[in-house]
């Protein structure tokens, strides 16, 4: 995986990238840097320009202005070399549904100039790895949503890409399947692949990315390490419901007394009988649980909530995510810790 990059250690480098469609500015001067072996999350609402960015970086679109290189190759001047070192998994699973899973992978192996024998071996190997061996001979049309995404990921991995683009890899998947896909992506990252991932979910970015670029209306509105940004947007919120509603206030006071909560203070949601505690780190979360136990308070539920895309935007820009969110309801992803 040694590559002589002029931009030392940069797998993806984007400078002042602009893409206009007539009057519409899909990208309006985007700068972005993805270091080798890291996962960059590009977070933004529908219409923010995420897909346009990925399509330019994978040579499917030519930019109106600006520069972009992937693995050292200019997207405009070296598209063919570039295509050899990337993998792309689009927003809509781009496997051939009429072909069996194995045939999909074999076809791509052959298109990547693998000799027949090697293409066969690689197809077998990747099906095994993505737990699709049993479905190898079935047309992809018969696959479940999760299987299809896994096949799509496998297809992107045939050429052992240096950089993998994942355009909203879990949009439209149910939570269980989403977790499956996340696990696969984490494994790929473990192998040292550089990943650029677009998403509408803070939770997904938090799960997979180490760095984050927040985009809106074709512009970068924030970027940096995920912990940094999380601190800026307030991290997670713990929602604690005591079994006895009368213990609500004593609990809140006890937690405030601890002085361990994050940026904001503890609030009491009397209507739903819960205490809301903002936490920034796993340590803080653990300390809160410890305090609850120490006070001998019985809980009926405990959940952590991540800020929604809307809340992230609100705290970063002071306005709500601008584009219509027609495809995805703006609900807060919840992660149930205990019931």
């Amino acid at each position: 995986m040694t590559r002589n990059d002029k931009e030392s250690g940069s797998a993806v480098s984007v400078r002042g990238l602009v893409k206009h469609y007539g009057e519409t500015k899909a990208l309006d001067g985007v700068d972005l840097e993805v270091r080798e072996g890291t996962v960059m999350g590009v977070l933004g609402p529908n219409g923010a320009g995420k897909t346009t960015l990925v399509r330019i970086l994978s040579t499917l679109l030519t930019p109106t202005a600006g520069h972009a290189t992937v693995a050292g190759y200019d997207v405009v001047r070296r598209p063919r070399q570039l295509r050899r070192v990337i993998g792309l998994t689009g927003q809509y699973a781009s496997v051939d549904e009429k072909l069996p899973g194995w045939e999909n992978l074999y076809l791509i192996g052959r298109l990547l100039d693998l000799p027949r024998k090697e293409a066969r071996a690689r197809a077998d190997e990747l099906l095994e790895r993505f737990s699709l061996t049993e479905a190898a001979r079935r047309p992809a049309a018969t696959y479940s949503g999760g299987m299809r995404r896994r096949l799509d990921l496998a297809a992107s991995m045939i050429g052992r890409p240096a950089v993998l683009f994942l355009d909203e890899p879990t949009t439209g998947l149910d939570p269980r399947t989403r977790n499956e896909v996340w696990d696969e992506v984490k494994r790929l990252v473990g192998d040292g692949v550089t990943v650029l991932l677009t998403t509408q979910y803070m939770e997904e970015a938090e799960q997979l990315a180490s760095e984050l670029t927040v985009v809106d209306r074709g512009k970068v509105i924030a970027s940096g390490g995920i912990e940094q940004l999380k601190a800026r947007v307030g991290g997670r919120t713990l929602r604690i419901r005591p079994a006895d509603p009368l213990r609500l206030r004593p609990l809140a006071e006890a937690l405030d007394a601890l002085g361990i909560t994050g940026l904001a203070t503890t609030t009491v949601d009397t209507e739903r009988g819960a205490v809301l505690v903002p936490v920034l780190s796993d340590e803080q979360l653990t300390a809160v649980i410890g305090a609850v136990t120490a006070h001998g308070i019985t809980l009926s539920s405990l959940t952590t909530e991540l800020p929604s895309l809307d809340e992230v935007f609100l705290s970063l820009t002071g306005h709500r995510a601008s584009a219509p969110q027609d495809a995805v309801p703006a609900e807060t992803p919840e992660e149930v810790v205990a019931v």
């Binding site: 590559r3 499917l60 063919r80 052992r160």
Partner: protein, 279 residues
């Protein structure tokens, strides 16, 4: 610039790419044959997709010969038998058009399912996808043509001139290849395969019936007759007729070839431009 010399370690294989990033001919052939295999697997997976190729020549031959054959045959100075000699070359002329339509709808499907995005993000020549699709549609066309000839002979068609027959098949394919650029443009521009088919139907249907494919234009009203005279489908049908059953060929043949070149010259750049700028 230095990047080109450092590709050797990137990716799984670099055999298919020359140093300047061009794709060697052998790699093109390999890619195209891999894609042909894909399109053949489609047929195996979904044999019903061959129905149109199989049924079109049977249904159209029987329909036209037995419904219109008697009456149109009279105006040709014979009966049903005379019409068989007339309609079979006409249907032959249509084979290439069906092929063109198949390529267009196939491309449209690949765009809509996102498969085309994957192909376009791979280091292959973009023509490979097209050549593969054309090869498979040509095969489909040859099967349909063979069936047409069998049905034709069964209803009384005389094959008098084998080289002429092959020449007619070739001419139909040539004209179909020109028309293919029109359907490719539709395939790239239209939202779904149904619209491509509907649009193709809307354009082709009047052209086909307003030509000498199904009936001799002599009995048509004057304005329509002048339209049929300039209609390239008439030239194609008449050339096919001349080649297969005898009669004057030269002028219609040249007209057909001229139309093919003209349509290609205008529509190929449009199709390629639409393909390149497809978002």
């Amino acid at each position: 610039m230095s990047a080109t010399t450092t590709t050797a370690t990137a990716g799984a294989a670099v055999t298919g790419l020359r140093a300047d990033g061009r794709i060697p001919l052998r790699a093109h052939v390999r890619h195209t044959s891999a894609l042909v295999r894909r399109n053949l697997l489609w047929i195996r997976q979904d044999p019903e997709s061959m129905f149109d190729a199989v049924l079109f020549p049977i249904v159209f031959t029987l329909l036209f010969v037995y419904v219109f054959g008697g009456s149109i045959g009279q105006s040709l100075g014979g009966g049903q038998d005379a019409y068989v000699q007339y309609i079979v070359p006409g249907l032959m002329a249509m084979m290439g058009m069906n092929m063109a339509q198949g390529v267009g709808t196939g491309f449209n499907q690949d765009f809509n399912t996102g498969v085309m995005d994957r192909f376009r993000s791979l280091p292959i020549g973009r023509g490979s996808v097209l050549f593969a699709k054309i090869s498979v549609e040509m095969m489909r066309m040859l099967i349909a043509t063979a069936i047409l000839m069998v049905v034709g002979v069964l209803v009384g068609f005389d094959i008098t001139d084998w080289p002429g027959l092959f020449a007619a098949v070739g001419l139909s394919a040539v004209f179909g290849s020109a028309l293919m650029w029109v359907f490719l443009t539709l395939g790239v521009v239209m939202k779904n395969a149904q619209s491509v088919q509907a649009m193709g139907f809307l354009v082709l249907m009047p052209l086909q019936f307003g030509s000498s494919i199904f009936a001799p234009p002599q009995s048509m009203p004057g304005w329509l007759r002048s339209f049929t005279e300039y209609n390239p489908l008439s030239s194609l049908a008449d050339a096919a007729r001349g080649l297969m059953v005898g009669g004057p060929v030269a002028q219609d043949l040249w007209m057909t070839l001229a139309w093919s070149v003209g349509i290609t010259a205008v529509m190929a750049p449009v199709a390629i431009h639409k393909f390149r700028t497809k978002t």
